[in-house]
């Protein structure tokens, strides 16, 4: 009904005068809410920055590379906070996860965009998107109940008993099997759909003329992909992998459930470790004092800064590809 009435009233000058500022007001109104998003990002930065004041005053930058994390004050060892075990765990688990998920994810993206038969393209693509949306606690659950025991019995124990005798970072003793290796594999599974979906999207944005030119020269399907499609989409694919890295860095639940949560730095991949996210998740709610809390919040700040930088770089690369031929020259 409103629409019917609007037309004649809009013609009358009084309604036009009453609503002459309507557009500006509405624009300002939507702008206000849009700026709230900026405000939320700033809020995350400010809250974590302020919350970590105590530890920043006490340790300064050296907080980042001190290797002792000892929240419990005893007579023998005073309470000290160093973020290195957590940062090291985050970097290592993300690195290994990406080492696994990067190449495989890109290969899946290539398959989905270039080679997949049309009949299964839609359902397979939908499944990949779905897997990216499944809550991480479900991956963690599967890791704890199904994959963890399997991994411990058939992979970790045999490997550490044989090659582990020679190579220290594969050494045992494998107890529960929870550690960097197990967590990295499950995180890789979670990152895989993200990398695959973005690679597929980037490849599908490559114009067909790129492919047709090489096909007309008599290239095989793979040569078309390798020489015409991938170079064009390179920046976007790297961006997708970096977004996957962002997901791996911030992954909390799967890491908390599978990495064993030990702040001691161990040489072996099969021994418990910790990541920044899992350290916060397991200790913040029962922190001993404000210094302990502040140290955990400082780790959150570091994590946020890392993902902020990664996002900037990744978005820039994806944006560069979608903008057009600039990606081909890169």
């Amino acid at each position: 009904m409103a629409d019917v009435k609007a037309a004649p009233r809009a013609a009358s000058s009084s309604w036009a005068r009453q609503t002459q500022h309507g557009d500006t007001i509405f624009w300002l109104f939507t702008l206000l809410f849009a700026l709230l998003i900026v405000g939320l990002v700033v809020a995350v930065g400010i809250v974590t920055y302020n919350g970590s004041a105590e530890v920043r005053e006490r340790y300064g930058w050296s907080f980042l590379w001190q290797t002792e994390w000892n929240p419990v004050e005893t007579e023998l060892s005073p309470a000290t906070f160093g973020a290195w075990p957590a940062i090291r765990g985050t970097l290592l688990s993300s690195f290994f996860a990406l080492l696994l998920a990067g190449p495989i994810g890109v290969a899946i993206g290539i398959f989905l965009a270039e080679l997949c038969p049309l009949r299964i393209k839609q359902p397979l693509g939908f499944m990949v998107e779905l897997l990216a949306a499944i809550p991480s606690v479900i991956y963690g659950l599967w890791g704890v109940a199904v994959f963890g025991p399997f991994f411990t019995q058939y992979i970790a124990t045999p490997v550490s008993d044989t090659i582990g005798q020679l190579i220290p970072w594969l050494a045992g003793p494998v107890a529960s099997g929870r550690g960097l290796a197990l967590a990295s594999i499950v995180i890789a599974l979670m990152v895989l759909p993200t990398v695959a979906a973005i690679t597929r999207d980037v490849l599908m944005a490559v114009p067909n003329s790129q492919r047709e030119v090489l096909l007309s020269l008599g290239a095989t399907r793979w040569e078309v992909i390798w020489l015409a499609v991938l170079p064009y989409a390179r920046a976007g694919i790297i961006g997708g992998v970096m977004l996957g890295l962002g997901r791996a860095l911030g992954e909390t639940m799967a890491a908390t459930m599978l990495i064993g949560n030990s702040t001691r730095i161990e040489g072996s991949l099969f021994l418990p470790a910790t990541t920044s996210a899992s350290l916060i998740a397991s200790e913040l709610t029962n922190a001993n004092d404000t210094l302990h809390e502040s140290a955990l919040i400082a780790i959150a700040l570091v994590l946020f800064c890392i993902t902020l930088l990664l996002n900037m770089a990744a978005r820039y690369l994806v944006w560069q590809t979608s903008r057009g031929p600039a990606g081909a020259r890169a």
């Binding site: 037309a7 709230l36 290969a107 779905l130 599967w142 199904v146 962002g246 913040l284 978005r315």
Partner: protein, 330 residues
């Protein structure tokens, strides 16, 4: 260019083509196996643990807490632990070891996760109520007004928020609400989830509004409607089903988030609908119950995971249907 040097060797090129294309198929198959396993395990184990009790009961301890035995006045311990007699001197069981008297496999908890369902719905719904206006208005700003550098910046901030580690958002909720009011609360959880839901809603709203053809806008303008009027009465109603699915998508994402809730709502074994107190949530129950030694509680963990996964799959299917319908209608 390898294509030139190898031009004559067609058999070699064809072999390389087949091998490398085979590799992508192999990678896809390799990745599909664990991902299908995850969905399969959750569906089979989780689906089989569903029952009426699962949805209507709250937590019940899997073993009777009150053993019914008398308290021995000398030791202060119950003299009878569910049929196990304790040695008054040592406090240890005399006859059968505990494991035999209470075979863990036989203990069936008749409890359910009603408290988790209520908690998840309340917390996520509150978060949706807060983030819906912000997200929709921001989406309108991004879609209906020129895409200048301010819009690009806001879009970037929204990407940063949706890529921010969920644990960091949990830390913000913890510092802002939990520390200030000295209590874990559903409200703190909702505030934390808002940070994650706003970008999802803004993004989907923007994309759906961009699907509305320009002819619709021009038609409204031709009737003399100012832009704000046509946006509110013509364009947004046209895209309403899409905006609603965007909200559902955000709801599904929020419902599956575990890490922020771990730091903010803490969980609660009793049925509680008070958002100012610790409250239960489904993903927290999955996290808590899978580490439990009682199979009955592990079953509950799988069941909860199944419910969460179905929520995600259902919402994603719905989004697919609605988006294709909007595209088809236009």
């Amino acid at each position: 260019m390898s294509i030139q040097t190898n031009m004559g060797n067609y058999a070699g090129r064809a072999a390389a083509d087949r091998t490398l294309r085979g590799c992508t198929v192999l990678a896809t198959a390799l990745a599909i196996i664990p991902l299908v396993l995850i969905i399969g395990y959750v569906t089979v184990i989780g689906g089989s643990s569903l029952s009426v009790d699962f949805f209507t009961q709250t937590y019940k301890p899997p073993v009777p807490v009150d053993s019914g035995g008398e308290i021995d006045p000398t030791t202060g311990l119950p003299s009878d632990f569910g049929g196990v007699t304790l040695d008054p001197a040592t406090g240890l069981p005399i006859e059968a070891p505990v494991g035999e008297a209470l075979p863990a496999q036989d203990i069936q908890s008749s409890g359910g996760v009603l408290h988790g369902i209520v908690g998840t719905i309340m917390v996520t719904f509150l978060a949706l109520l807060i983030s819906l206006p912000v997200g929709v208005m921001a989406g309108i700003f991004l879609a209906e007004y020129p895409s200048n550098s301010l819009a690009t910046f806001i879009r970037f901030c929204s990407d940063v928020l949706s890529g921010a580690p969920s644990i960091v958002v949990g830390v913000v909720g913890f510092t802002l609400i939990v520390q200030r009011f000295q209590t874990y609360s559903g409200l703190a959880g909702a505030v934390a989830l808002t940070f994650l839901m706003v970008p999802t809603i803004a993004r989907t709203t923007e994309e759906i509004l961009k699907l509305v053809p320009n002819a619709t806008r021009e038609a409204a303008m031709a009737m003399g409607a100012p832009q704000w009027y046509s946006t509110l009465t013509v364009i947004v109603p046209t895209a309403l089903s899409g905006i609603a699915t965007g909200a559902l998508l955000a709801f599904a994402r929020g419902a599956g988030e575990t890490a922020p809730l771990l730091l903010t709502i803490q969980g609660n074994s009793n049925l509680s609908a008070n958002l100012l107190e610790p409250i239960a949530a489904l993903p927290l129950l999955t996290y808590k119950y899978i580490e439990s030694p009682f199979p009955a509680e592990n079953q509950l963990a799988w069941g909860t995971a199944f419910v969460l996964m179905m929520l995600v799959i259902g919402v994603n299917l719905l989004v697919r249907v609605v988006t294709s319908r909007i595209k088809g209608a236009m």
